[in-house]
Symmetry: C2
Subunit: 750 residues, 2 copies
């Protein structure tokens, strides 16, 4: 069985396992030239002039572009294709295309750039001070005005509290470290451009690049080859525009591929954040007020900064039953590498603060952390209060007002089943080593994935019975191209393997949003259900004649349409298709996902056991249980992979990863896997994933979002377990051995 | 300008000139194995057993198939994938796939086949005699019963004649000699097969191969890569089925490519024919009766045999005004290589007989050949007589009854303008060499290309303004993928270069017929006009709101929609597209080409000057004028290429080409370019092409068929010119030096 609820094998498995899968950097075209980018050595500088004469005279150099000789269109409000001001060490200054990479490298060395260096800042709080040098016109606040959201009255809520807890949390920047560095291949045919590139949305790339190049969008075709991991992170169009200009000037195809170091420096990082959190409670644990305040470092350019800022407050605003909540965010430009969206955006930073402080509150009140959360989590009927405006008027967030129910909320089930699977109430086994301290910790999470932008899908069946599902969506590696045909197969009553797919080509797939916000299954899935239902209806109409039964009595399953009361009266789908009048039947659905009557959120609860080596400071995660409410699971194996992937990826966030920018120079000091300290398979715990029994009434076939949902859990669960093991309340990520040792030292010194 | 009537550069020009174009044999897949076919050394034999053990044990051999271990489905009524009877020298017996070609060759050598040889015949008249061994069950007539068509009463017509002329004509078989030998690449993904192959119709191949393999058609995807010439000839699906079975058994992709010799022997030849023709005339030249009788050699299997048989009689039945016509055809199986459709099917054989005998009649009556034809060609109102049944009830031919007009007929214009350009009335310059005799000759032709099978096209525009034309049609090299977007551009008022195309993929293009019968522009063009008109209408509806003008006042040209009376009130197509409610607008048209009220035919008249070397027998064509009525010419340059290509290709038919089968053994003696004697650029005459001024009222934008139309002309025009130069009436093709010398010898001996 390969319909919904079954673990259909991912469609790209064979290609990926055998190495047949072609990623953007694997593509070759005849006469293709290779592009390289010259990057700024200065964190902040004006480019006064660029002398390219010597580079251009090098045999084999086909094209060279500088900010002075290209279209001045913008890829984003603050981003030109190449700019005369460099804003971080690694910012794009010029680019060259040559017959081979060696020649391109030599050409880069021969480009003479005259810079005028400017004062710079790497610190967002410095950047926001009056008098700080403006990195962009309009100042260093990266959004028009600070984000400030309030439900109820926080000040009054604190006045009603018996106890008020406060803490400051620090989260550094880190990289998404996809195995595939970004690449783009551009080729022109007359006035028409085709771009194969690492992308999370071909139509969005098309529009951004066409706009920057100053050509009509219909002249740009963007195709998404296999992507070597997305993590919501491969969102910039600049590389594509550079490849396009080089190719146009060279009169031949040009491919540009980032080096590993470039991927770290010129990719997108997670936003570093400084968070102040204050929570007021009654002695019985009831929460009267929450006030969170975040300062975010968005780096030299903004990318998804509004979404990141909002998502950081998501847990504070919505995870607990609390009438009075205030959340403020101040994202600042600095001369650091660019931060952007990275799996779950700001939610991991915010949940880390929230769920460790809640843990401390529970401890101080003498309440078991699990009990505390069972008592206080947001109820299924949503935040209490009066509904004031329809949900669809609130962009990228739930409404702040209360009184609006969740479509479904099985957080309680996550907490109870996760705790049971973990054995929360059982004593931990002793390590048998006096230096190795064991502890358990937990955290819960809320995430508004799911409803996203307008989405579309097309289902088509031709007279031979061939079924094709077309979507503009980019499968960023998560498996949408496997799961969505399962959804269509479920509706049509056929095997998912019998449905061909066509995805992510701006030339001939419906306009799609970026693959982000965990919404591919939810929103495009909704369109798939609708389109497939329409095709099924039309097939049933045809079958109705042959089977001499009204449409209302016909069912579709097992590759056939049959009379429900007498399944022997049946026609196979190809038999029905052969009777079509038209060459093919197709239906396209364009939908706005979600519901005006409720809020769709996903939930989870994580439990872990850690072992802290008090001699070395090293923290190991021994066991991990992740329990999730993502509605009905369409493909259990892929869902398991998502949850496992998110937890193991966030071990780096919790324990080891940090992308370090050198204070005096702005240089990124550790742009490599080794020194960025990504976790490896040896760090992987015994991990169990549980999915709550739930069929969401709004989501397609009952599904809700999953991809990003587990990411906010690990840092807080591990921090709480470290506390349980050692008594330490660590507030600065990651929990590296030196930091743990230092904390142990100061602790024992007290 | 790239709309209709302008010589848009062919879309594949750059790929073909630079070598980027990927033909089927250029395609590679990872782990691909190479297939070879074992062919019969006997012209007729039963295969008793095949011992593959030794071949299979050879390291590197991945798969081996024989008639004894494969599905017994049929590719055609008389054709299995592999059969236990071999019917010509070269017939497929077994096939092997190995890691490399050397291993595959060694494996072929190791296959032991036990044959029981059977009596065989290479001669169609022998094959049709009672008692001849049956090559297929049911006997050697390759159609259910002999073709016999009669209009009026031929016997009575001859009784009314003053003079009756008779002649026997012989036409040997020859090969289409495409530069690209046939190739197929098969790859399975689970139960689903993808085939890239040399094809003239992906949907027809899909259905034939799926049927033979016994799997549903929706599991087979056939894709047509670039084709290295079609000539209506690359029609067999057997190679694809063999590649598919080898790939399935090998568990990896398998590519099979014919060698040059295989292309000659196992490709498809033009039918050899023996023709008896009898014509009755009044002394003033009025034709009272025509009776043609053709014996065709269809070889070991039938391919397009009904169409070839009919088209051979086309000139006899329809080219001249004549109330009494009879035509009979007897296509016979023999143990020769397979004949099939090759550019203009049987028309060149039939026109050769008709137009040389008519020339003799004109000469004997003392009428100038041009005058004779101007007097006697079929009139624009069609054959005289009473209409008896609607044209659409007659398959693959015009109705035999009279009284039905042509949609248009500019044969008269072709004759007059061609003669004028040639200088028909001027004396020929002397060669200055007593051995070199010069002469002029002419011939005219009728060809029912154009209306063909049900055809479809889809035109789509998305919100960015990108326009895509989708057709299932295979561009066999003639340029449909260039011409059809011109047609769409004309309707939409945009530049053809701005229309993307998607052709020839059975997975996602509308079902299309084979590219044959010169009908691509005519029939798919009609669908393109209809689909584009619908898209234009919907764009005009959108523009109507923005421009505040009714749709009826809006025009589309220059990439914009504008108010006809005030072109400054305009919106560009992308501006209109941006206002669409839907993701895209698309329209598909499925049409039955042609008209119930008239017959659509194309016409031509050819004139040539030859020089016969009476010392060597060599004939050179010095000058050639081809005048054609193909309605409105959509792309003059491509049309010129078609006419030039047809004429130069048929120089081989007239002067040199013959595929020789050895009588005692059935072996093809000359399967090579050198010995098959294809003409080269050195044989090419000074050639002028003229297109009649005509806009057909039925064809799309006024176009009629062209591709095959000129092929029937050269053999007769050259024969007539040889007569003019030497007095010889040659009746056996080709006019090789030995044949000319022998005729000159017997002539002077008389």
């Amino acid at each position: 069985m390969t319909t919904a609820g079954h673990s259909a094998i991912r469609r790209d498995l064979r290609e990926k396992l055998t190495g047949e899968a072609m990623y953007s950097a694997d593509l070759k075209l005849p006469d293709m030239a290779h592009g390289l980018i010259l990057r700024s050595p200065h964190p902040h500088a004006d480019i006064l002039s660029i002398d390219t004469a010597e580079a251009e005279s090098l045999p084999g150099v086909h094209a060279l572009i500088t900010p002075f000789d290209i279209p001045a269109g913008r890829l984003a409000p603050d981003l030109l294709i190449l700019d005369t001001r460099a804003r971080f060490v690694g910012d794009e200054v010029a680019a060259v295309a040559a017959a081979d990479l060696d020649t391109a490298r030599r050409a880069l060395d021969l480009i003479r750039v005259e810079y005028r260096t400017l004062p710079f800042t790497l610190d967002p709080s410095e950047a926001l001070k009056p008098g700080a040098i403006a990195i962009h016109p309009g100042g260093n606040l990266a959004i028009p005005e600070p984000l400030s959201l309030e439900r109820g009255n926080a000040q009054q809520g604190f006045a009603e509290a018996d106890l008020v807890f406060e803490e400051h949390y620090s989260v550094p920047t880190h990289s998404a470290t996809p195995l595939e560095p970004r690449a783009a291949l551009a080729s022109w045919d007359g006035d028409n451009l085709t771009l194969w590139k690492s992308t999370r949305g071909v139509h969005v790339d098309r529009d951004a690049i066409a706009g920057a190049l100053g050509i009509p969008a219909f002249r740009v075709r963007v195709v998404g080859p296999f992507l070597g991991a997305g993590f919501g992170n491969k969102d910039e169009s600049r590389l594509g525009a550079i490849a396009a200009l080089l190719s146009q000037r060279a009169g031949r195809p040009v491919r540009v591929e980032y080096s590993r170091a470039e991927e770290f420096v010129a990719g997108r990082t997670r936003h570093a954040a400084e968070i102040d959190l204050k929570i007021g409670v009654k002695r019985d644990g009831a929460i009267t007020a929450i006030h969170g305040k975040a300062l975010l470092n968005t780096g030299a350019y903004q990318a998804s900064v509004a979404g990141v800022s909002r998502r950081l407050g998501q847990g504070m605003l919505y995870l607990y039953r609390c009438p009075n909540v205030k959340y403020e965010a101040f994202p600042a430009y600095t001369n650091c590498p660019v931060a952007g969206s990275y799996r779950a955006l700001g939610a991991p930073q915010g949940h880390f603060a929230l769920e460790t402080l809640m843990d401390r509150i529970a401890g101080d009140l003498g309440i078991d952390p699990l009990e505390f959360r069972l008592e206080n989590h947001v109820p299924v009927e949503g935040q209490p209060g009066q509904r004031q405006s329809p949900p669809d008027q609130i962009i990228d967030s739930q409404p702040l007002e209360g009184g609006i129910p969740f479509s479904s909320n099985e957080l309680d089930q996550c907490l109870r089943r996760g705790a049971e699977a973990f054995g929360w109430d059982n004593p931990l086994p002793d390590s048998g080593d006096p230096f190795l301290k064991r502890g358990k910790g937990m955290a819960m999470m809320i995430y508004r994935g799911g409803p996203g932008s307008v989405s579309a899908a097309e289902v088509r069946i031709d007279r031979s019975g061939r079924i094709t599902l077309t979507s503009g969506l980019m499968d960023v590696g998560e498996g949408a191209s496997t799961v969505l045909p399962q959804v269509a197969a479920d509706v049509l009553g056929v095997s998912a393997g019998d449905i061909a797919t066509h995805f992510a080509d701006s030339a001939d797939t419906p306009d799609a949003p970026i693959t982000a916000g965990s919404t591919a299954t939810f929103s495009t899935g909704t369109a798939v259900v609708q389109a497939a239902t329409e095709v099924r209806r039309r097939l049933q109409e045809i079958a109705s004649i042959g089977l001499e039964a009204p449409v209302s009595e016909l069912e579709a399953a097992g590759g056939a349409i049959f009379v429900g009361s007498d399944p022997s009266r049946r026609m196979t789908i190809p038999e029905v298709a052969a009777r079509m009048d038209e060459d093919h039947i197709s239906a396209e659905a364009t939908i706005t996902p979600g519901s005006p009557d409720c809020i769709v959120n996903s939930f989870g609860a994580h439990f872990c056991e850690v072992e802290v080596d008090t001699a070395t400071g090293r923290v190991r995660v021994l066991r991990y249980v992740a329990a999730h409410d993502s509605g009905r699971i369409i493909n259990p194996r892929l869902a398991l992979n998502q949850a496992e992937g998110a937890v193991s990826q966030m071990l780096g966030f919790a324990l080891s990863e940090e992308l370090v920018t050198d204070g005096p120079t702005g240089v990124t000091l550790n742009p490599s896997y080794l020194e960025h300290k990504s976790p490896t398979i040896l760090d992987y715990p015994d991990l169990q994933v549980i999915f709550a029994d739930n069929v969401d009434p709004v989501g397609p076939l009952g599904a809700k979002a999953l991809g990003e949902v587990p990411s906010p859990g690990p840092a807080a669960a591990i921090a709480n377990a470290i506390h349980h093991a050692t008594g330490l309340r660590l507030t600065t990520l990651p929990f590296t051995p030196d930091r743990v040792l230092a904390a142990l030292g100061s602790n024992s010194a007290q």
